[in-house]
């Protein structure tokens, strides 16, 4: 199993009120799964994504990534886990504006201490792969939205993560660019068989996934 959740709960304590965003979710993703996570705003979808992305620890329940139970990991270990095994794609692309496309893409590898030559070469390959071979030296603000999102995807997978977490990857794109991004994700799911957990509002987007999980009020409503 790449990802395994068993009865996961997440509570946020803000002064007097306690909000339980996730109220006992059990879910598992096998290698090569492409799961779409849907649900209305406030259903706990984002919180679940945080937990799966090892940005946060569950309040209760078990959550393991590639068999590693994250509740027992320190902040540093979580950071290392993210750096090595996880990739992220967001609605607002979230490239660093001060770095070029290639520099953005190779960042995770460099942060993990990879050799400069190796990371640059691999970043180049990936840029080609996502169709940005000719724009490697450009800065994010010189790119279109779709290009930026493709660069972000390249960055998310450069270190060959076990799991890609995508949060509304097409939410800020026009339909043409959106489709291209989805195409890319689908392709990556096929080769090299990347496991993807993608949150989305849109049924169309969700349609490309192999599995669909619906959430409501912190619980999984349906799975299929």
């Amino acid at each position: 199993m790449i990802l395994n959740l068993k009865n996961v709960r997440k509570r946020y304590e803000g002064g007097e009120s306690v909000v339980e965003a996730v109220r006992g979710v059990t879910l598992s993703l096998a290698a090569g799964d492409f799961v779409a996570l849907m649900g209305p705003s406030g259903c706990g979808k984002s919180t679940l994504l945080h937990l799966c992305g090892a940005m946060d620890r569950p309040s209760e329940g078990e959550l393991s990534i590639e068999g590693t139970e994250i509740r027992r990991l320190s902040d540093d270990q979580l950071t290392a886990l993210r750096r090595q095994r996880l990739g992220f794609v967001f609605q607002f692309f979230n490239l660093l504006p001060t770095l070029t496309v290639r520099e953005n893409i190779e960042l995770p590898l460099l942060l993990s201490g990879a050799a400069a030559g190796e990371s640059a070469r691999r970043a180049g390959e990936l840029a080609e792969r996502v169709g940005l071979g000719h724009r490697q030296g450009h800065y994010p603000q010189q790119l279109s939205g779709g290009e930026m999102q493709r660069a972000a995807i390249a960055r998310a997978i450069i270190h060959r993560p076990a799991l890609l977490i995508a949060d509304e990857p097409t939410g800020n794109l026009d339909s043409g660019n959106g489709e291209k991004v989805l195409e890319l994700l689908k392709e990556l799911n096929r080769d090299p068989g990347l496991t993807i957990l993608m949150a989305t509002h849109s049924n169309e987007t969700a349609a490309i996934a192999s599995r669909l999980v619906r959430m409501r009020d912190g619980l999984i409503e349906s799975e299929g």
Partner: protein, 865 residues
Amino acid sequence: MKLFSKLFHQFILRHLVRERMRSIATIIGIALGIAVVLAIQMTNASSLRGFEKAIETVSGRTSLEVVGTGLGLDEGVVTSLGWLRSYGQVAPIIEGEAEARAADGRRETLRVLGVDILKDRSFREYNLLEFGAAEPTPQEFLELLIDPKAVVITEKFARRWGLKTGDEIELTFADRATRYRIRGLLLDEGPARAVDGNFALMDIAAAQWALGRLGRLDRLDVLLGDRKSLDQAEEEIRRRLPPGLKVQRPARRGAQVEKMLEAFHFNLAALSYIALLVGLFLIYNTVSISVITRREEIGTLRAVGVTRGRILGLFLAEAAGLAVIGCGLGLGLARGLSYGAVRLTATTVQSLYIATAATPEPLGMRQVLLAFGIGLPLALLAAALPALEAARVAPMAAMRGHDRLASRYRLKPILLLGPLVLFGLAWWMAGQPPVQGLPLFAYGSAVSIVFGAALLAPAVLYGLGRIGDRVLFKLFRVEGRLANANLAGSIPRLSISVAALAVSLSMMVAIAVMIGSFRETVIYWVGQTLQADLYLRPATRNNVATDAPFSPEVEQIVAGHPEVAAVDRFRNFDLAYADGLVTIGTGEFQTLLNYGSLQFKEPAEPEAGREAMRRAIGQEAVVVSESFALKFAKQRGDAVTLDTPRGSVVFRIAAIYYDYSSDRGILVMDRGTFNRYWGEPQATSLTVYLRDGADPDRVRDQLLARFGDQYRVFVFTNKTLREEVLRIFDSTFSITYALEVIAIFVAILGVASTLLTLILERRRELSILRLVGADYRQVRKMVLIEAGMIGAVSQAIGLLIGLLLSLLLIYVINVQSFGWTIQFHLPTGFLIQSSILILIATVLAGLYPARAASRLPATEQMAEE
């Protein structure tokens, strides 16, 4: 108005509270800047006010005074001035300084006034503790003073020293230590108020004897009857006085001393403004950051209908608020700083100029007005640019992310024009002559260079961003790359901080180079000039306020020592010359030629200089110091007209020599020449040449043993005098360094505050970094690298500009204000050390922002969306 104050409260105040670190840093910056300016102003005022107040309180009701030329009045001449009484009352005065010494070694300088109390009562008020409210009659007063060892001191001083009437006190006049009997205590009125109670009253006969000035008076005070107007009387008296005597108003002496200290004070004040300038950079910085980071909010305000004028007002009000708090705090700080500054400048002022009271002027309305009068308008000026920018923000900006991605800086070549114009202006101004003896243009030039450098900061940062990646990536791997990218992305914001830091660093570099060069020059000069084996001076210093000649007995002891080969008896005193004072010195030219050596500027050839000096012996000729020649634009061979007791006399300049002991201008003449006009001089310093093989230290000890307790003489060997010269030199510049350190501290504060702002502004990027796997160590490292880079860039600009400024200081400002030739010398060691220190300091300044950055949670990004 109500809306405005509401907006100010909600929009500005709350923001300042939220960004409290930055607000505090800004306020501290302003406070320090203002405090330094005030402290220096108060310190300058204290040395001058101390002197002027002493003149004022001591001169009492005196309307006019008759003075001599330099060495006071010959009593013989006074006898012929009986006609003066037809203008009013006339009182003879002799004045000087004595050093009081307590059993525990405590020493303080007392201002001693010798009066004929029978004549003096109409001029000055003396209220004695013993007499209560009733003033003693002149005769009763005379009873107290008539003994040659009687002295009346102030109650204030007595209280401080635990003395009472009837006690003895040891006073040293020049080289003579004598025990005096305290015959009365003056209440804190009249002259007793002078110099903070360090005042002693003596009978004129006793004072004349004590000061070793028999036959001489300092002046005749004249209290006019109401028959004539002051101007008319002054004019009539001027016409009737014999040559060698002058009539003047008492304030004239203060004006002369003010003139003398002017250059020193002006330069100190100019320095003090650096800290303020840096403080103002901080205001500019803070307001612009608050404008830049809050474009959206400004846009929202504009969208809901707040006018441009109001937006402008809001941001100006922010600056004003910060400035007011800063100025207020600065006032409080100034008092403390001024004590430090007085201590730091006291040695200089005392050893080079005058003895002064050791307390700064108290904080008064004047300082409050000065603080707010300078601080507030300048702060508003500094904030005007960013505030105008805020007013131009369009309502559109309210839309989120509107211009977020447009933040990457592009260098517009047009921006290089500003620095070029300023540097050109600086070049032109450096070539202009001084204005009324003050290097105003030169300071204008310095300011142009500084602003030019400040405007250059964005370009330098831009250039650095282009080449920095390679270097930093090599040095620091990915964190280096990120840091460089961050800096390159924040050029508009950073360049202000970098400019501020670079400006203060350049000043430090400039001053360090100037002082280093000066010091080397002085060391060389001392080595060339100080050839004698021993130097003697009386324990109390000869200066403007007191004449301190040697006792004949001391001179006999010295001359009679078997190992002494020759003694040059040197006499110097101050003479009014062209609005100010110059120093007249006299010694034996022949002795100097035989044993000593002067460094001649004109004629430059040493043998020619000596020949010129030899030919000056017995002639109406003087050898003048370089500062005299420069100050009064005199060349070799020019004529100088001096007031002598025998009227105006024209002297020819035989040679010009290098001198770094005084910026006042020195004219030296041979003893024979001097004798013709001023009479046989009493020596104020002795230069002693020993026979071959004599041990200076041993001779020194033997002389001191002969002097015993009765004579207090400072005997320097050649070696100790060199040390003493450098000690005075170094203490002169300690204030300079102190001011600089404060300015740099303020600038580093600015760096920290900017970094912190950048961190907060970059939360989003930082959380992306955390998400893609950067751990907090990497984030911290990145921020520290950024801080270090800021320091390095600033120091680099500072070094470059500093070297430019040092050239200006050495070759223009210094020459114009003090008249000294300084050989350029690069204090490499100091510059390297200080560069490393600055780097460390900026990295340390990055610690807090780095910690703040590394603590941002990785989820920040998602939670925000």
